[in-house]
């Protein structure tokens, strides 16, 4: 994606004009940083757009950006109920990897990984993408064997992946406990060195700024209350700030997908569940990679601020409350402390839940619907953040051309009728 453009040096895509400098930083400091320009406009909704994206999270903003930058569709709006990046985009544990088993998953997550690798350049915004590696640990002989099978499949798809033994893991992560007597002993693991983390807010801000530069209207505090149809065709969206006419609506609302789908009388196979995460007080650097454990459903990394960032599996029942059930983090923390005894006396600072849209086959839906002009990009469940650029890129292509490209095609809603599921349950590194 980030091929060099003759006029733009390293940057392959338009949008995100340069505007900050060290000199400006020093100059504005004299004025207590009070007169910085807006990074994006705060426009009133127009009466009509060529396309409307519902949901101003990372995926929605990425969709809008690629619609404008790649497909030249600039008379579009992103409509957000709250503020951009305030939902799951700001609630995840920022892990990025592309080591998925199935070919379909490898295609989309690796497409995404490649976009991550050029994103700061593409958007001219530092998203702090850090390829610090993602190490998934096996706790049993069986798990290790299954893991090597997966590693070979992943490598056949041209994605970097390698198996490490306990001693190599200890060398890579000195703080880990590899004692064989613990409840979940470290038997080995697999590492994707190109995996890592990014600054999640920056992803939303970077896409928003670059999209806004290209003329995309980002309309915050505007809730969609209905979808207006004429027969089997979309003609506009009803919002808390009035009716907006449009022929194409892209719905990228994660946990609320079923709610918006119901407005159009569409059924989805999605269950909305809370996914919890928490961060500790900041400490000195002790972990310079991402550790995931499939068996105990725990993943941990350390933020640049020094906080330990921990996440768990989804809660076991549907909920739209953005908080979770206590036993889930309790179980995850118990496992974290066994693996990293050094964490045992850390205090946790913040704890939250995001509502994720889980699919029966743990794979997303990027699809047209039975209604002309209505598209859905949802079902990312617990693994949406890493897919942000890839999802936006292929979804923009679907909306612009009214047909899915090769990467998006397997993710059609039709797979629940045909049975061609992409079963990533357990086949993924899990914990997403």
């Amino acid at each position: 994606m980030a091929q060099n453009h003759p006029d733009r040096g390293q940057r392959g895509l338009p949008g995100g004009a340069p505007r900050y400098s060290a000199f400006a930083l020093a100059k504005k400091a004299m004025n207590y940083h009070q007169d910085w320009q807006r990074a994006w406009r705060d426009p009133e909704p127009k009466a009509e757009y060529d396309a409307v994206i519902i949901g101003g999270g990372g995926h929605g903003l990425a969709t809008a950006y690629y619609l404008a930058a790649v497909h030249g569709l600039t008379n579009i709006a992103v409509i957000e109920k709250g503020w951009i990046g305030g939902g799951n985009t700001g609630r995840n544990t920022t892990i990025i990897r592309s080591n998925y088993l199935w070919d379909e998953s490898a295609a989309i997550y690796e497409h995404s990984m490649k976009l991550w690798e050029g994103m700061s350049q593409d958007l001219n915004f530092n998203v702090m993408f850090s390829q610090r590696g993602v190490l998934t640990i096996a706790h049993s002989e069986h798990e290790l064997r299954e893991m090597s099978r997966r590693v070979h499949a992943i490598r056949l798809n041209g994605i970097d992946s390698e198996i490490l033994g306990p001693a190599e893991i200890k060398k890579f992560v000195p703080t880990i406990n590899i004692d064989q007597s613990i409840r979940y002993p470290v038997m080995g693991g697999f590492l994707q060195r190109r995996g890592g983390t990014a600054r999640h807010d920056a992803v939303a801000w970077g896409y928003a700024r670059a999209a806004d530069d290209l003329g995309v209207d980002i309309i915050q505090k505007c809730e969609v209350t209905g979808l207006r149809r004429q027969g089997r065709k979309i003609i506009g969206v009803e919002t808390s700030r009035g009716f907006i006419k449009t022929k194409k609506v892209g719905c990228v609302v994660a946990g609320h997908s079923s709610v918006v789908a119901a407005m159009a009388g569409i059924r989805l196979p999605i269950a909305s569940r809370p996914l919890q995460a928490l961060v500790s007080e900041p400490i000195k650097p002790i972990l310079d990679t991402v550790i995931m454990s499939n068996a105990v459903h725990m993943y941990i990394s350390q933020s640049d601020k020094g906080e330990m960032v921990l996440g768990a599996g989804v809660d076991k029942y549907n909920s739209y409350a953005q908080r979770g059930s206590f036993p889930v983090p309790e179980h995850m923390l118990a496992a974290a402390v066994e693996l990293f005894p050094v964490l045992s006396r850390l205090r946790m600072l913040r704890h939250w839940g995001g509502i994720v849209d889980t699919c029966p086959d743990a794979s997303p839906i990027i699809s047209k619907t039975d209604i002309e002009g209505l598209y859905f990009d949802c079902g990312w469940g617990t693994g949406g953040f890493k897919a942000t650029p890839g999802s936006g890129h292929v979804f923009a292509d679907l909306i612009a051309n009214d047909r899915p490209n090769k990467i998006a095609a397997p993710y059609s809603l039709d797979r629940f009728r045909t049975g061609l599921l992409i079963d990533e349950h357990g086949a993924a590194g899990v914990a997403h």
């Binding site: 079923s258 709610v259 196979p269 036993p327």
Partner: protein, 122 residues
């Protein structure tokens, strides 16, 4: 943490329970030929309301028996707990049952051929 009142054992912590998802999904009978799309309604499509939701729970670390719960997915308030094989009686839960899109699906109609004869009551 939820406190769920098992109809057989009384109030217990949610860790003792397993959630079985949407309640009242009837399997279409094999002798009723329905399309793949209609069968998908039964097999994959799920009601996922923001508000009152009828779901099945099992007291898996207790008596291991199933029962139905009407729970609000925003406030987590449990409105009604009622036995398997029966319908809710509280007005709000009854409305949720009746207004679900599932009641109009071909899959559900193919599940209980006798229901139409009995005039929709059960």
């Amino acid at each position: 943490m939820l406190i769920i009142t098992c109809p057989f054992c009384g109030p217990r912590d949610e860790v003792e329970f397993a959630c079985g998802g949407e309640a009242h999904i009837a399997r279409p009978l094999a002798d009723h030929k329905i399309s793949d799309a209609d069968f998908a309604d039964y097999l994959f499509m799920r009601d996922n309301p923001k508000g009152l939701f009828l779901e099945r729970w099992r007291h898996s670390a207790g008596c291991r028996r199933w029962f139905n719960v009407a729970r609000d997915t925003v406030s987590n308030e449990i409105v009604e707990i009622y036995p398997m094989g029966s319908l809710p009686v509280k007005t709000a839960a009854k409305t949720t049952y009746k207004t679900s899109w599932r009641r109009d699906t071909a899959a559900e109609k193919a599940a209980t051929p006798s229901r139409s004869k009995a005039g929709g009551s059960k």
